[in-house]
Structures are given as C-alpha cells and as structure tokens.
Amino acid sequence: MNASGFLSQLLQLGIALLLAPLLVGWVNQCRAWLQNKSAPPLLLPYRTIRKLFLKDAVVAATASPMFRIAPYVVFAAMALAAAIVPSLATDLPFGRAADAIALVGLFALARVFLALAAMDLGTAFGTMGARREMFVGFLAEPALLMVLFTASLISGSTLLPTIVDTLAQRDLAIYPSLAFAGVAFTMVSLAENARIPVDNPATHLELTMIHEAMVLEYSARHLALIEWAAALKLFNYSCIGLALFLPFGIARGSADAAAILGATPVLIAKLALGGLALALIETLSAKMRIFRAPEFLGTAFLLGVLGMLVNLLLGS
C-alpha cells in the first residue's frame, strides 16, 4: 500500500461522506416533483444533520451503553463500506482488506447493531422495528450475495475493484446473467434502504414502519449519525449498482487525485439519474404489507440464484 494510493482512498471516502446526504436530498426533491408537491431544498439533509448535532441528546433512562455505541458502530461500518465500494476509482488499497462477501458482512454488522440498539430500551415499537428489520434482512442479505456472486463468477474474483475493472473493460454487450442480477439488485436495494414498496422512509405511521421504528428513540447526534449512515448506505448501494451494471467513467488502474476528481462529475451525473429512477419507482409503486415482503425478496433471491445458474450454463 503506497502513500498516493492511501491518499486517493481517503479522497474517495471523503467524497462519499460529503455526497451521500446530497443524494438523499436529490431523491426527496425528485419524489416531491413527481408527486406534485413543493420540493424541499436540495441541501436540507445537510441542515438537518447539522441541526441534530447541535441539539442536546436525550437518552432514555433505561438505555444501556449499547444504545449509545450503536450509532457510531453503524456509521463506522457504513464509512468502511464506502471505502471498499469502487465508486470513483478501482484502485482501492482498502478494497483488498474486504471483498464482496465481507462487504455484505459489514452491512449485516450495521443491521445487527441497529436492531440490538432498538431492542435495548424495551419499547414496543423498538422491538417491532428490530424484528421487522431482521426479517427483511434475512432474505435481502442472501439475495445481495447472490447478485455479487454472479458478478464474481464473470470476473473470477470476489474483490469488488477487480470485478468492476473486468466489467468496465468489456464492450457494451449485455451479459444475460447480469440482467437477472440487475433486477434482483434493484429489488434488494429498495428493501435494504427502507424504500417503497417494502418500507416508507417518509412515514411515521406506527404499524407500517420498519427502519423508522428502530430509530424512534434516537435524538440529536445519535440520530444525526444514523441519518448520515442511512444516506451512506443508499450511496453505497447506488455505487455498487452503478459499478456493476454501468461501470463506464470510473477511473481505472492506478488513479491519482486528478483522475478521481475527474471521475466525480460522471459519478454525480449517474447518481442523479439513479436517484431520479428511485424516485420514479417509489412514486409508481405502493407500499406492500409486511408479509408480502418475503415474496418480493424471495423473488429477488431466486433471480439472483437464476443469474448464477445462467452464468454457469451460458458461461457469461
């Protein structure tokens, strides 16, 4: 690991941390436009995070240290994931420390900590949220792994930088297996990021919420970190999707700071399109009952498995 690689790694991580709330703001804005509402300002998520940092934290009297440590763990896991996902460049020194399977493990770590923190207070909604989150997760996680496995089989590597490097090299032919994987990945991303049709990020309607039920008790800096981590998660998933299915424009080979900054506008453009697509999906679909979620995610899982089988059958 050389110094310049390390610096470009840090640069990419910094860009991810900065851009993530913007993506959330953009998706919210697009959704408001599509639904004929007046849109909130694009930079609102930043202001919300700052406002939350300034507030005094209120922690329930029955909380254990688990409750207070969890937001930091979740944030750290998501930040590390942002360092591993090749969003701007494929030359990532950290990328070797954790491959695609470890990335899924990191997401699971964040999920488990958030669920445990939600159960910590012993409130009815907290435990309900934890149960539902784990319920969605136990199908979403295998489905995500199947998608990543399909891509790994194509490139013969589970290292995300290598996968993306391989996929970026190809001429624009469509891999049949990746088509299945792409659909599966979209479904998983919706579920994992608490989006309609599985969850609704804009609701606090008690009986339908999943993610929001878990973080109900958080306030101030803890909530800010969780919101930021959720934004990072959306950013990470978007970047995984873009890197796997639309890898053009990414800085390949040994990238210096200039190459990374050069790749940034392309990424922003792609994220803008992706965010628009997400807002469109959210506008066009209705929230499902919680017990329809297994069908939805089971479909994603089977599509992922199908992608792997197609890959083995056709060799592409």
């Binding site: 940092f53 950290f94 990191l106 136990f138 295998p142 083995l312």
Partner: protein
C-alpha cells in the same frame, strides 16, 4: 465419607486442575500438529489386544480444540457447581473428567477397540452428566433418548469398523488403511460412518436428542457436549472418510453436502421459534454442524475431481468452523449457565434487561453472539467466508449436475447464515436487552470471578481466531497435507491478508477491518464531541408518545420468531390455542414441533412396540410349553447337524 461441603472445595481444586490439564493438552497438540505422527502401544485391555494410540495432525488439531475449549469450561465449572445442584459434586467431578478423558482417548485411538471403548465411555459419562437432575422425569426422558440414539450411532460405527477391516481380522487403523475394499464396500463403510457419526453430531434425521439433552444438562456440560463432543463425531467422520478409506467417490460428497445443508437450514429454522434459551442454542448447534458437514462434503467432492486446492479450502473451512463453534457455542452455553444461576429461569419469556444487572456476562456474550451470527471481524465470519470462496470458485467440474448443485448449495448456505443472524439477535435481544420481564430479575447478580475468567478466555478465543486467520490456517495446513495433500497457507500474501486462492481473486483482512472501523469510530466520537458538544440528558423512553409502557409490551421470544414461523409454516408442526373474545381467562399457547417425531420416530416406536407384543405371544408362562420349545429347538439343531 467426606461431607458435601468438602467435596465442593475438592471440586473447585479438581476442576481448576482439569483446566490446567486442558491447557497442557492444547499445548501438546499445538506442538504435535507439525510433527511426524507419534505412536504408542499401551499394554492394557484384553490379552494380545493392546491399546494402540497415535497422534497425527488430525488428532492433534481436534485435541487442541478439546484442550482449549475444555480449559475455559473447566474454569467455569470450578466456579459454577454448587452443592445444591442435583448430584453430589464429587460424583459430578468424576463424571466430568471421565467424559473429558474419554474424548481425548477417542481422538488419539489408533485401533477400533480403543476407539469404541473410549466412544462408549464418552457416551455413558455424558449420559450421567445429562441426567444430573435425574429426579425430574423429563430429564430422565431426555437422557434415555440421548442414550438410545448414541447407541444406534455406536452400533453403526461398530459395523463400519467391521467393514473397514476387510476380513483380515486386524482392527488397528494401520491395517485398515492398507486393507483394500472392493466393490460397494467402501461406500457401505462411508454410509455407516455418516450415519454413526451423524447420530453423535446431530445430523438429520438423528438430531432429535440434541434439543432434549442440551437443556437437561447443567450448562458447563451442555457447553462441553455442544462445543467439544459434537466435534469428536466430526473427527470420526474425517478419520474414516479421508484417512481409513483410500479414495472417495463423488456422490459421497454430494450426499454429505446436501445432508449438511438441509441440517443447517432445518436447525436454524427451528432455532428461530424456540422459547427456551438452551434449546435455541441446541438447534443452533445443529445448524453449525450442518455447515461443517457441508464443508466436508464439498471437500470430498473437490478431492474426487482432483481439485485439491479447493478441497483443501473447503476442508479448512470445515475445520475452522469446528474450532470457532467450540469457542462461541461454549461461550454462549456458559453465559446461559450464569443467567440460569442468577435468575433460575431458562425460558426466554421471563428474562430481559440483564445487561444492566450482569454486564460482564452480557458484554462477553455479545462477542459470542456477533461471532456466531457470522459478522466480521470475528471468527464465525472467517470460516463462512472460506466456505463461500470454495463454493464460488468451483471451476467447471466435469459433471454438469454437480455444477448446478454448487450455486444452489451456496444459496442455501447464505440463507442459513443470514437466518443465524436473526436467531442471535433474538437470543441476545430477548435475554440481555430490553426491560426485565419479571420483577425478580432486578436481583440478578453478575457471574463470579472464575466464571468471568472462563468467559473472557472463550471470548478472547473468538476475537483472536477472527483476527488472525492466516496464522490459524498455517496451523491447519498440517491437516490439509495429511488428508488432501494440498496447502492453503500462502505466506507471500503477508501475515495480515487472508488470500487463499490468489491475491487478485479473493482476500480478506479482519485486522484491517477492525482497525479501520475502530479508528473511524473513535474519530467520529472525537470529532462530534469537539466540533459540537457531548451533552446528554436522561428521560423516559418516548415510544411514539404512548403512555404507560410495561415490560410485557416488548416482543417475546414467540413474537420475535413469529414472522419466520408464519412464512415457513409447513416446516413446523404447530399446535396453537387461540382465545375467543368471550373467554373469561384468555390463554394463548403455541408450540412448534418437529415433524420428524411424527413422521419417523413415532411410527418406529409403534412398530417396535407391536413387534414386541407379537413376540410376547410365545411367552405362555406354562412349563410344558417351554419344554416343548426346547424340544423343537433340539430337533431343529439335530436336523442341521445331521
């Protein structure tokens, strides 16, 4: 006779001595891993049949597992057993150490006689330990079931050795290695071994004793049985399949793979709906054994097709998972023991909030929970990572059927692993987090000093095995060389980077993951506190503004498992009593049972019962009838002789 109180102190000294012996065993095994096999012949046993012992890499690895895990469990036992716990402490101590010694002898046995003697001693000693509280009828029942299945398994193993000796009458393992079995005999030997050792390990459908025996036994015994004894069965399976049998067939691997994965999925599904914490852990053991056997199956599959590197990776994953399971499952069983002593309660529905009252146990159990859920950077993740790598880099095997099987198997494996996380969140959240569900939990006391030492030892094992996989694999390679003839350890990748195949194909570095996570975490805390502030107020929980929250509004264990029970309904036999709106005393009751009882065991029991009654018909109780039987027998014999 000494008074029980003295015996208690003797127990404390003896258990500590046992822990030291465990450490010594582990040290010996560590040295023995990379040396040429040592053999010894003890002049014990029947005339002309001395005991043959041998320590090779495979034995040494499992001895290391035994010693390291048993050291922790023995220290815990030294602080755990009280005079009021059922059997007399002296007797308990004797049974416990007999059990340990028998397991050690199983691992170093070099002929079938020693193996079977040690195996049976192990089964009997553990039977007496399981039935420590033999005054309770359900514990006697659990003990009987355990004994029965242990003997079905032992019978199968005995037959397996009978096949393996190949007709030359020499039951040493050395001669079995050189015996050339023809035709279907190797396959028969393998299937007998799979059934026999599977019964001990808890493979489907012989798993039914596990969820009965583990809750019945005292917690250190559960830890020993689940953490170590199940691994002796894995050892036996490996010994027979890879060492005593020369050459394997591909379909053995396919059978083991499918059986292992079905067991894993079955175990974890049942773990989600359990309401007794030790039963939950017992089902989780079934799941982990399934994963290990799936790894062994994959190793057989790859080996028969000459992919030795992948076979070695799969085998490494299986061995690594065995070691991991010994640590985290022992840790969790011991933690349940502390909880049980502090609260007198095993039912998840009556626990909760213990992190406030028992911080040591709770935080150490958290490490075990995260490890068993397969989360980086702890040890459970490493073995699952290795196994998934082995699945993923299945290059085109010659049979397309197998090629199709492998991704499906990988899918089943990740499903089991993801469900394990669900189970562990349920276990930890319900026991340690939330608010106490019963008022008496407010008086729970944390574990004693010796118990803490034991828990710290096992938790440290989970962390270190997770952080230094390269070093562990370097150690495991001796077994790979012995059984597969390939190595996984790649020194050129560096001490911190696990890259078993090639550096550009897959790599994982738990140390870096941990360091970066911790650095980011500390930086975030510092930045947030410096840049803004760290002010904190305490208040009541908000919970959407609902007033009068009680601790009974939290999810119970049933509630947490309910979604899984609902979507996998057909896998359970569900008995449910729902109250009607007009009940004066509404009661809700749900029980999820195993179909195997009704599909397999009860019919067999009925058939045995029926046959016994038919045989009973010849028992007339009149002496003339019996004389006639003797006469007829004599006639028949005369006919055959003449």
């Amino acid at each position: 006779m000494a008074r029980p109180r003295n015996l208690f102190y003797v127990g404390r000294v003896l258990f500590s001595a046992g822990a030291l012996v465990g450490l010594l065993l582990a040290a010996v095994a560590l040295v023995g891993m990379n040396q040429v096999p040592h053999t010894a012949v003890l002049p014990l046993g029947l005339p002309d049949l001395p005991f043959h012992l041998r320590l090779d890499a495979l034995s040494a690895f499992f001895l290391l597992l035994l010693g390291a895990a048993a050291a922790g469990i023995s220290i815990f036992s030294a602080g755990y057993f009280r005079a009021s716990d059922g059997a007399a402490p002296g007797l308990l101590c004797l049974q416990y150490h007999t059990f340990l010694a028998a397991m050690a002898f199983v691992l170093i046995a070099d002929d079938a006689f020693v193996f079977m003697i040690a195996w049976e001693t192990m089964a009997l000693a553990s039977f007496f330990l399981v039935t420590t509280d033999h005054r309770l009828p359900e514990i006697r029942r659990a003990g009987f079931l355990y004994l029965l299945i242990a003997h079905i398994g032992a019978l199968s193993i005995l037959l397996c050795f009978g096949v393996l000796q190949g007709g030359n009458g020499d039951y040493t393992f050395g001669s079995m290695r050189s015996a050339s079995l023809r035709g279907a005999w190797p396959s028969i030997a393998f299937l007998l071994a799979l059934a026999g050792f599977g019964a001990k390990a808890g493979l489907l459908p012989l798993h039914v004793w596990l969820p009965e025996a583990h809750p019945a036994a005292p917690s250190p015994v559960s830890a020993l049985m689940s953490g170590v004894m199940l691994k002796t069965a894995i050892y036996g399976l490996l010994r027979v399949t890879f060492d005593l049998l020369q050459g394997q067939l591909w379909w053995w691997g396919a059978i083991a793979l499918v059986l292992g994965l079905v067991t894993a999925l079955f175990g974890v599904l049942f773990a989600t709906v359990q309401t007794d914490m030790k039963r939950l852990l017992a089902y989780s053991s079934i799941e982990n054994i399934g994963i290990i056997v799936a790894g062994i199956g994959l190793a057989i599959l790859f080996k028969t097709y000459g992919k030795t590197l992948l076979a070695a990776i799969a085998l490494t994953a299986a061995l690594y998972h065995s070691l991991n399971h010994a640590f985290f499952k022992s840790l969790l069983f011991l933690a349940t023991g502390s909880v049980l002593h502090a609260t007198k309660e095993r039912s998840l529905g009556k626990l909760g909030g213990l992190i406030h009252r028992m911080p040591w146990v709770a935080w150490l159990a958290l490490i075990g929970t995260l490890a068993i859920a397969g989360l980086p950077p702890l040890n459970g993740f490493v073995s699952e990572w290795l196994l998934l790598q082995a699945f993923l880099f299945t290059p085109s095997l010659p049979q397309s059927f197998i090629n199709m099987l492998v991704p499906l198997a990988a899918a089943a494996l990740v499903l089991a692993v993801a469900l394990a996380a669900y189970v562990m969140v349920k276990f930890y959240g319900v026991v340690f987090l939330g608010r106490p569900r019963e008022p008496n939990l407010a008086y729970a006391r944390d574990a004693g000093r010796l118990e803490r030492v034991a828990l710290v030892w096992l938790a440290a094992g989970c962390v270190l095995l997770g952080l230094f996989p390269v070093q562990v694999i370097a150690l495991l390679d001796a077994v790979n060389v012995l059984l597969i003839g390939a190595t996984v350890y790649r020194p050129e990748a560096g001490w911190w980077l696990l890259a078993p195949i090639a550096a550009d194909r897959a790599s994982y570095s738990p140390a870096i993951v941990l360091v970066v996570t911790v650095v980011v975490l500390l930086l975030t805390i510092q930045v947030v506190h410096r840049l803004y502030h760290g002010r904190l107020r305490r208040g009541p929980a908000w919970d959407c503004g609902f007033p009068s929250q009680t601790s009974r509004m939290q999810d119970t264990a049933e509630g947490f498992g309910q979604p899984i029970r609902q979507i996998f309904e057909q896998f359970f036999r569900i008995e449910r009593v729902l109250p009607t709106p007009f009940d004066a005393e509404p009661r809700y009751y749900v029980k999820a049972e195993d179909h195997f009882w009704y599909w397999l065991y009860l019919p067999i029991a009925r058939a045995v019962d029926w046959a016994a009654r038919r045989v009973g018909a010849i028992q007339q109780g009149r002496i003339s009838i019996y004389l006639m039987y003797s006469f007829l027998t004599l006639l028949a014999l005369l006919y055959f002789v003449g």
